[in-house]
Subunit: 441 residues, 2 copies
């Protein structure tokens, strides 16, 4: 075998030790349960896709940031960059799948990016999508599911921003520019947070929008009032534009379905400044931001009616969103939203007094496991004190001890590691006593 080498991680990747894993699983389990409640079934796709499947779907930057290599059979292969393109490939590959198809998918993706604080080369995405429905009801179901995920995770102050690519097309057209400029208009508007309204105007002009056109766009962006009021004002401004009016109708339908699905209106912000980068969106786009801490969006998605057609030659209406697991965990950590004591699933450590007492300790383990209590049997060579130390380090709530005195009278000592209290009980009462201590922990 090889010589000693220093243990190192590949930059931008992480190990998840038990304590972090248990937090991650806590979040993922909640997400999965809401997804299921909303009628989504699971799907997984392979880490490696043929390069032809991935290339050209994410724009130039996406191509550059996709891990790609040639395999031993000279095939060009890339690592999964997101979960939407693989889903689209799946839909095209298996036309027999009944529609509308609702799937959730929770898997890591990879980006050949420069690692920075909070930006990783491997991270998880949690996606839900509905394929085969062009109704805004599908978009509303996605957004309602996102809302309920955040509520279930106990997020309190967040907004779901929604906008429409069709409205962005309308805005582009009434500025006098052709639709080819839509991406430029979107990118300029997207910078509002950083450069303000005047900055957006300059950006628009620098990207080739005439100054009169830029002013028209600013006029649209400047409308005020509730979601409903702004949609009605927008109708006045876009009334002669076909794409724009189609977008407004979609927004109205979407807002009305969200209301029926009991997503509180105050959480929904129809937001003309929302653009979202990806090329493939065609209708509503949506993302979630938390008021605090400022960390960018924690969910992002939209409708992409033309992506699947790239694979099958036949378009399929599709809409969906990704939940940013890593950012959600960061926020929950910062706001202390995780339940306490989420460090191990082990409930009891069975200590071993000495080798002569080991058979009795094993008997205890057998009894507890038969009752579905998660327990670890100490297999190291420390004395009792070191064994209690292990229980403390791992945050195991209870330790069971039985030395010669206890064995003689068929009892055990149950030590509550939080309070430090220890009780001696007959072996036949052990399960009940432990159950009770676990309940009141």
């Amino acid at each position: 075998m090889s010589k000693n080498i220093k243990p190192r991680l590949y930059k931008g990747t992480r190990d998840f030790l038990p304590e972090q894993m248990i937090k991650r699983n806590y979040v993922i389990d909640i997400i999965k349960n809401i997804f299921k409640k909303f009628g989504f079934d699971p799907l997984e796709t392979p880490a490696m896709e043929l390069w032809e499947t991935l290339s050209g779907k994410y724009g130039e930057e996406g191509d550059r940031l996709t891990y790609r290599f040639i395999d031993r059979g000279k095939r060009e292969v890339g690592l999964r960059y997101d979960l939407t393109v693989p889903l689209s490939r799946v839909i095209a590959l298996y036309p027999e799948i009944s529609k509308p198809f609702k799937r959730y998918q929770i898997q890591p993706v990879w980006r050949a990016d420069k690692p920075q604080k909070g930006r990783f080369r491997e991270f998880y995405q949690c996606d839900i999508d509905i394929i085969g429905s062009s109704s805004m009801l599908a978009d509303a179901e996605i957004i309602a599911a996102l809302y309920h995920v955040l509520i279930a995770l106990k997020f309190k102050r967040f907004s779901i921003r929604i906008n429409s690519r069709k409205i962005l097309s309308g805005i582009t057209e009434i500025s006098g520019a052709t639709l080819e400029k839509e991406a430029d208009v979107a990118r300029s508007i997207d910078k509002f947070d950083k450069i303000g309204l005047n900055g957006v105007r300059e950006e628009l002009i620098s990207r080739g929008i005439k100054s009169g056109g830029a002013d028209k766009i600013l006029q649209v962006l400047g409308i005020e009032g509730s979601n409903k009021v702004r949609l009605s004002k927008l109708t006045d401004l876009l009334k002669n534009n076909k794409a724009g009016m189609a977008g407004i109708k979609e927004m109205e339908d979407l807002l009305s379905y969200l209301k029926m699905l009991e997503v509180p209106e105050k959480q929904i912000l129809f937001d003309l400044y929302l653009a979202r980068g990806l090329d493939y969106y065609t209708g509503p786009i949506y993302e979630t931001v938390v008021d605090e801490p400022r960390i960018g969006s924690i969910t992002g998605g939209g409708r992409y009616d033309n992506l699947i057609g790239l694979f099958s030659g036949q378009n399929q209406p599709a809409t969906g969103s990704s939940i940013g697991l890593e950012r959600i965990i960061t926020v929950m950590d910062e706001l202390k939203m995780f339940p306490e004591d989420l460090k191990t699933s082990v409930e009891v450590l069975i200590t071993v007094f000495d080798s002569t007492c080991l058979p009795y300790s094993i008997k205890i383990v057998n009894l507890l496991r038969r009752e579905n209590i998660n327990c670890d049997l100490y297999s190291g060579d420390s004395k009792l004190r070191g064994q209690f130390g292990l229980a403390n380090d791992r945050n195991i709530p209870i330790a069971v001890v039985a030395g010669p005195d206890e064995i003689k009278i068929n009892t055990v000592n149950i030590k509550n590691m939080r309070t430090g209290q220890q009780v001696n009980v007959p072996l036949e009462n052990m399960v009940n006593e432990i159950r009770q201590q676990l309940r009141i922990k």
Copy 2:
């Protein structure tokens, strides 16, 4: 965006559609619960490791079968080949982890192999390991956990084969060969199933064992009797060999701990023909085979006391096993061991009679989801008949229908998709009626 391309998978990889995913999750959930019950906590490591971490750990073939590439920063990177080497890297990287450390890890691994029936380039491994204990109690805990996983999955006829690398060393030495020949001896013995005892003899001689030595080895392999009897006969044959006697002592301890842990003796086969390929094993080795179908081992592992030292410079005793998820699923499929109706987690499809009835359907969905019933709201544009077709295709047990007549009197029709029976109930009785039908499904 790019032009149409035919949707294709990279060879040797698979999509898992909902029905397959739900089966996989059924198995994984059972495995996880047993792992937890035995005191293991979760760990995950990144898909990409530095090449220096992976290289030279799996032997020449392993090096060749590891996916490797150069990233944009000119770093040489490989994809995870198994879960044992990443674990060893983790242990060396975080010396602060309390020991014994018990972790489970369930993640895909990749092999740059020629795809064949049942052999994939991406597949899941489910591993448990105990680090920091040199006691055979740790090996016994691993084997007991494997036993309970198989029982929980309802496997009936299987054997856990165990052997010892130390005994193999002893056998090599009493044949008159040096320890360098141990791998050759192991590989020869390993072929017994295919080439028989005479074949093993020829193989040994062709690998440089003298014919007298080969006969000695055959004498050892030929001993008969129960596990205990064979160990005692082996003691006679190896009594002057240090490694061999240490191996026998370990086997005796292991068998005695397995008995205390109530793993039935009939499931355990002390088997001198078991060799296992990997270079890094140092003590007991173990694998599980099912009597039927003949598919090779479904678990495999052993003790590897020197692997972690390659990273930290300091050895750590370690033992553990992998569960072959893919083979287990193949066997369970063939033996029809999966519960029926394991096709979707959706319990109810809420149909939409027409657009005027949609608000009432949404009201129904809200009611059911509030009661934590998994339900899908139809968002496509088929008539009722097509909607029932979707419920059938997805194997959703119940469909709810409400047209103008039902809405007028505030009722719903509940259609049991299995029996075809339909009942009309007041809206306020809907949840109870559905609960009852789901219970008796």
